[in-house]
């Protein structure tokens, strides 16, 4: 929260582009095989760059919430503010800092189950109001929607 205020008032990041929550449940559990590359460049013709085992770097908590900020000025800049939280751990709301966060935070709560603290209207936004679970979580069953009506009834 203080970081958010500092970014807005001192550094001029007055535009919040997006809030992206990510669930890292099971991160690296599958193991990853394949070539090791970096975004800056890689030599795919080197023999050892293919077929090596590499696990992704561990993450501090299960959930991350990324705030993509932008400075609309003559010297534009982008910053990503990342907050880490475990399941059920509250994340402070930034609606009072950037009003546009309203729906983004509701979406984060709805789809990822992030507990946003201090939000004026934290209800589901995309799913039904009586929906159970948070669909974008990694442990949410796929194709597991219960059958509401059947022919026998």
């Amino acid at each position: 929260m203080e970081a958010a205020l500092h970014l807005r008032d001192e550094l001029g990041f007055d535009f919040l582009s997006d809030i992206s929550p990510t669930d890292y449940h099971g991160w690296g559990a599958k193991g990853v095989s394949g070539y090791i590359g970096t975004p800056s460049g890689r030599d795919i013709h080197r023999p050892s760059t293919s077929g090596l085992q590499q696990l992704p770097a561990p993450k501090p908590s299960r959930f991350s919430v990324s705030y993509h900020l932008l400075r609309i000025a003559d010297d534009p800049a982008r910053v990503r503010l990342q907050v880490w939280a475990d399941d059920g751990e509250p994340v402070p709301s930034v609606v009072s800092v950037w009003p546009t966060a309203d729906w983004h935070e509701r979406e984060a709560y709805d789809l990822m189950g992030i507990r946003i603290e201090g939000h004026p209207n934290l209800t589901r936004i995309l799913m039904d109001d009586d929906w159970e679970g948070h669909p974008l979580r990694k442990d949410y069953p796929i194709g597991g929607e219960p059958v509401r009506f059947s022919g026998e009834e």
């Binding site: 919040l16 582009s17 975004p39 795919i44 590499q54 609309i72 402070p92 546009t100 309203d102």
Partner: protein, 420 residues
């Protein structure tokens, strides 16, 4: 942790409702009377551009409270994309915003390329820019046609869709499909451009400015149009920034901001174009911004046609790009690569990126996380329509119920993208 102050600084002097920025509540002296009528607009109202539901409190004809309810078109694209390999997930992206499909595709492909660190040949870059600008014209035409229709200008719809069809014909020539082209691959384009395309596109560039003159001739001096657009749906510069508005809505509020200009991607730094900015922040200015953007897009398409570089249309990285078809019969390595890419998909190095492009609706962003495997770990789109609808409460405040439709139209939202 610090608790947010009751009414923080950013709300001062703005029209943003408090405490919930996206919900307009009726004033207290009206709340207790019986005069307020609550009307449910949607989700299947033809004037709401899709399945948007608005719960509106009316005092006579005046809107005193409004709440937008979305989610009726939620299809779980982001979850589905996590189940597919990177290159199959490209197919999902254009289906979100079905009016400016190329942009969703573009931003996702750019995100993959940023993670991969792959070099895109200039011909592919310029061709992407050309198609994206055609798509911008297409999107604005759909907007102008439907927004005109809502305000009673029925002929506008037919004129706009006449030119729109020509653009779709061009897409069909290039990609084989009229919408949801899936023509952008990680590393370049799916195929080279067919030779007949250039002539057809040049013809289009010739007729389009005249067509825009026609549209302006139809509505620009029409009393009804001016009456129903000027001074409505006001959004000040501070409101627009605080509410995260982008694209034409932001530029109509007097903010000189265009991702193409400020953080140039593709080849936008090599072409000559103007960013139209208006300062009143009403429906009419949003219309003006879009009209001028169409003219600028035609100019960009024209420049891209003249300066289209020759050379390969896709990168030569066999770990990512499918090998040429003819090589499969002669080369074992090509066959293996083809098999690996088609069945397992290419692997994308671990990392997270946020890429933003200027779509017809505003800043379209893609946040992608990779764990180093063949599937995306997380894909999140920053949908400009989603953000635009947050401004409904601010824009619609104190307007008449008939003007609400014009204001909603001017925000130009596509529900498929909003609900994803």
């Amino acid at each position: 942790m610090a608790v947010a102050p009751e009414r923080p600084r950013i709300y001062e002097g703005t029209r943003i409702p408090s405490p919930i920025p996206s919900v307009l509540l009726p004033p207290p002296h009206l709340r207790d009377t019986d005069d307020i009528l609550t009307v449910n607009f949607g989700p299947n109202h033809p004037s709401t551009h899709g399945v948007l539901r608005l719960v509106v409190d009316l005092d006579g004809e005046e809107v005193v409270g409004v709440r937008a309810v979305i989610g009726y078109l939620h299809t779980g694209f982001e979850k589905s994309m996590e189940q597919k390999s990177w290159w199959k997930a490209i197919t999902y992206a254009p289906r979100m915003d079905y009016v400016s499909f190329q942009y969703n595709e573009l931003v996702f492909v750019l995100a993959i390329e940023k993670l991969l660190g792959i070099e895109v040949p200039p011909r592919a870059t310029w061709m992407r820019m050309l198609l994206a600008e055609l798509n911008r014209i297409h999107s604005h035409l759909v907007w102008l046609g439907t927004a005109g229709l809502e305000l009673g200008a029925i002929s506008m719809f037919w004129y706009c869709f006449r030119e729109r069809d020509r653009i779709l014909d061009l897409f069909e020539m290039v990609a084989g499909t009229r919408m949801h082209t899936r023509y952008f691959q990680a590393g370049g384009l799916a195929e080279d451009v067919p030779p007949g395309f250039w002539d057809e596109c040049a013809k289009f560039v010739e007729i389009m400015p005249k067509a825009i003159d026609d549209y302006e001739g139809l509505v620009d001096r029409s009393e009804i149009w001016l009456e129903r657009t000027k001074g409505l749906g006001l959004l000040s510069r501070e409101d627009a920034i605080a509410l995260g508005q982008s694209g034409p809505v932001l530029r109509a509020s007097g903010v000189q901001w265009d991702v193409r200009r400020a953080e140039s991607y593709l080849a936008y730094d090599q072409v000559d174009f103007r960013v139209p900015v208006y300062s009143n922040g009403d429906v009419y200015d949003r219309y003006r911004v879009r009209m001028e953007e169409m003219r600028e897009s035609v100019k960009i398409v024209d420049q891209a046609l003249r300066r289209m570089p020759d050379g390969p249309w896709i990168a030569d990285d066999r770990k990512v790009v499918l090998p040429p078809r003819e090589e499969l019969h002669t080369s074992m390595e090509s066959l293996i690569h083809h098999f690996k890419i088609v069945t397992e998909g290419y692997r994308v190095p671990e990392g997270e990126v946020y890429v933003a492009v200027e779509s017809p609706r505003g800043e379209l962003g893609c946040y992608a996380v990779s764990d180093g495997g063949p599937r995306p770990w997380r894909v999140k789109f920053r949908a400009p329509s989603f953000v635009a609808l947050e401004a409904t409460a601010t824009c619609v405040a104190d307007s008449l119920v008939a003007d609400m439709i014009a204001i909603l139209g001017s925000l130009d939202t596509v529900m498929g993208e909003c609900d994803r």
